[in-house]
Amino acid sequence: MNMLAQLPASLWNDETAAHLLNRARFGATPAEIESARKKGLVPMVRELVDVRADAGNVPPPAWAKPRNIRAARMALKAAKERGENFRETARQFRMMEGDEILDLRRWWLERMMNSPAPLLEKMTLFWHGHFATSVQKVKDGYWMWLQNDTLRRNALGNFATLVKAISRDPAMMIYLDLQQNREARPNENWARELMELFTVGIGNYTEDDIRAAARAFTGYRIDMTTQQFRFARMEQDLGTKKFMGHTGPLNGDNVIDILVRQPACSRFIGRKLWRFFVEDEPSQEIVDAIASRIRAHNFEMRPVLREIFSSAEFYSDRAMGTQIKSPVQYIVQTSKLLETQLASPIVVQNAMRQMGQILFAPPNVKGWDGGKAWITTSTLLFRYNFANYLISGDAMLPAGQAARAKPQDAGFRRSVQRRQLAAQIKRDPIDVSKFVPDQLRDKPRQLVDLLSGRFFRTRLAEKETNTFVQFLESRKPDTSDATMRELVHLMMSTPQFQLA
């Protein structure tokens, strides 16, 4: 039986179209869903997957340019030795890093919101979680952007090509100490994680394989004057290595090719793809099925994704509306559904932190656990309150304290900082008339039905529907914008809204 048989055309409707746009993009408004439904399943999947070849060619943020880090470091060291006030210089350096990474987060989230090739951004996010690398160790905005660019350019391409590109990616090389790996002093961090986390998974290699791989990845260096990868031929260990049954003067790319040919690799990647796009706990059958498709397509991601998104399995009851939105998905999708802009970068960054997913700062090399791990009592309450902020603006903050700074505050500097912060936090309430028709404001049941279609993709139980209706009834005859906003906040303050 073909586990990945195509979804019958008769089952292509608003619900299945919405499911596709939730998973392959970052959600959609009712109008976008309707348009997708009218296009049909196959053309819609093609539109998502078969993006233009140059779609990954995205202009970087203005500041993302390589610097001569070696010169900067030497200048700092010299100033330090001369006893000059290097701390101020060092502080400015750190602040610049902070500003850059803040801007990089904004830049990427805006791409997720507005890109003409949203699947490319979703896959880039998938690979960011897979090849998890944190700015906390890399400490450089340019390198983090460069990795993001590499992931995007290869996101829908060939997996082996992507792994080879990542093995030459300065951010990854720093994160897993690859540039410190020497023939005489091996550092096995990269070699181990390449196998355990990036290709075949634990239990599919030996400690000897790790040692051999570390030898193969010698000569991988970073040019600190250009911030680019540099291959130091003289440092390469050209000796014979035994790796997974292969013997020879293997280099890093040979090791990657051998790894990708292991059956475990297609299962490992297949399982991870399925978990990301479809369901938390895939069956063995489905993992085997997707793995065999990955092998059949020689690890080209585009045809694999096309098959996943077209399959009836993708639209099964186990998949539809059962995925807990990741914090990034939550932020982007909620902004879309409210027909509003992303919150300011500093607010979004803080929200990501409190919800447990900060872009460019995964908790460790394993990336984010995802699924139920997104939700704790604290993160759930934060989501509810963040929705309130997105809907009602900074007026919802306790007595507007954070945003409405007191003019005369102790200490000039602090009051300036507070005013600046206030300006960044300030947000106006959303315009509910964008999706609440005037003629339905005094018709609670019809209004609730309409808005449920926008905010929930799974059918609501009668209990929730009734509660929303009762809320509107209790307010009668008040049908003000404020009441409408409260209704929307109540809808988002539910377990059901966390699902996509």
Binding site: K372, S378, A482
Partner: protein
Amino acid sequence: MKTKNTLQTRREFLRTSMLGVAATWTLPVFLEKTFFALDAMAVNAVTQTATGKDGTILVVLQLAGGNDGLNTVVPYADDAYHRARPRLALPDEQILTIDHHVGLNPKLAGLKSLYEEGHLAIVQGVGYPNPNRSHFRSTEIWQTASDADRNETHGWLGRYFDNCCSGTDPTIGVAIGEEMPQAFAAKNPTGITFSRPEQFRWRASASNTGHMSTEEIFFRQLNGFDEENTPAATDGASIGTLPGTSKSDLSTLDFLQRTALDAQLSSDKILAIARKYKSTVPYPQGRLAASLNIIARMIAGGLTTRVYYASHGGFDTHAGQFNTHERLMTELNDTIAAFVADLKQQGNFERVLLITFSEFGRRVAENANGGTDHGTAAPMFVLGGRVKPGLFGEHPSLTDLDHGDLKFNTDFRSVYGTVLDSWLNTPSQIVLGRKFPWLAIL
């Protein structure tokens, strides 16, 4: 019987706290059953239910940035100390002497008194093999209790919650701060994170303050369990066969609904305690004091918490360390002194154990900028009403160094293991993967 009391407290709590907040809110029969079942299961196996009034409590205090161990527990009698630190060495006559070799930083008078009272254990030279000098990585190693050459996803406290406290209240772990510490990261994340108790609640839209209470009533209806959508209630399952001993067994929506309810219950409880319990002991200014003050109030209010976590930053003293470190030590000392006085006044000091840690100590030799660079081994403080006092472990040699850094002699996981085994009554090898030498601190 102890378990029965626990159970009653819990059921009583569910009734009182829920009825206390909103009159429309009634306790579904099913809910009572679930908690009854969870408590009943907790009696078996390795699971244990926090009991609020009598359980032991661990407070973990992180000194983030790498605290200078040598100027905290000072080897004042060692000439090498004075030689390595011409500007930063503390004068002998000011040291609060512990023995003929080491003493405490002059600002740690409160800790010195605790030592004399027999409530402070000082574990010297704590570290781990192949030390990493990156803040990020070394913090990760301490938080996950992993070997330096392994990457572990979950935190040591998270693994404790996963293995030993499944099915319990989320208040089992409380971290004060904006972000959950990695130490709490778990397969089934539990535990609560907040900076101020007032943050840990659902907020109605303030634009319409007159309506706030009704909006909240509807919110509570949406986030409570009820009989209709819960399989256990409709299929008439007996208590023993109720699903959901651990959140991983639940469907995603059931899991979310249960967490939503947990959030409400914990939020109500924490806010009620924060309103009711204020400390009469004065605390110093500052965030650290504010954090430990919240913890003390939660303990006073009988929150069913086994582990509290607080973090204090600023210890990365690369330059101009003298004044900075003096201020940090003062703040640490005054805060701990206030916290201890508070707990004593409450009568809870016997139930509480506080441990401090930092991701690393600092280089033995001072640098050219009156500071110190990232180092390795450092002391840990372990204090509480039932601690076995004294100095533990050897002080590392200041001359036999590894790249200018101290060689550790006690693995930090010996401290964790001892705390797990002897304070949290949990087999430490389940959490740490293996047994580490036990320390006589408890």
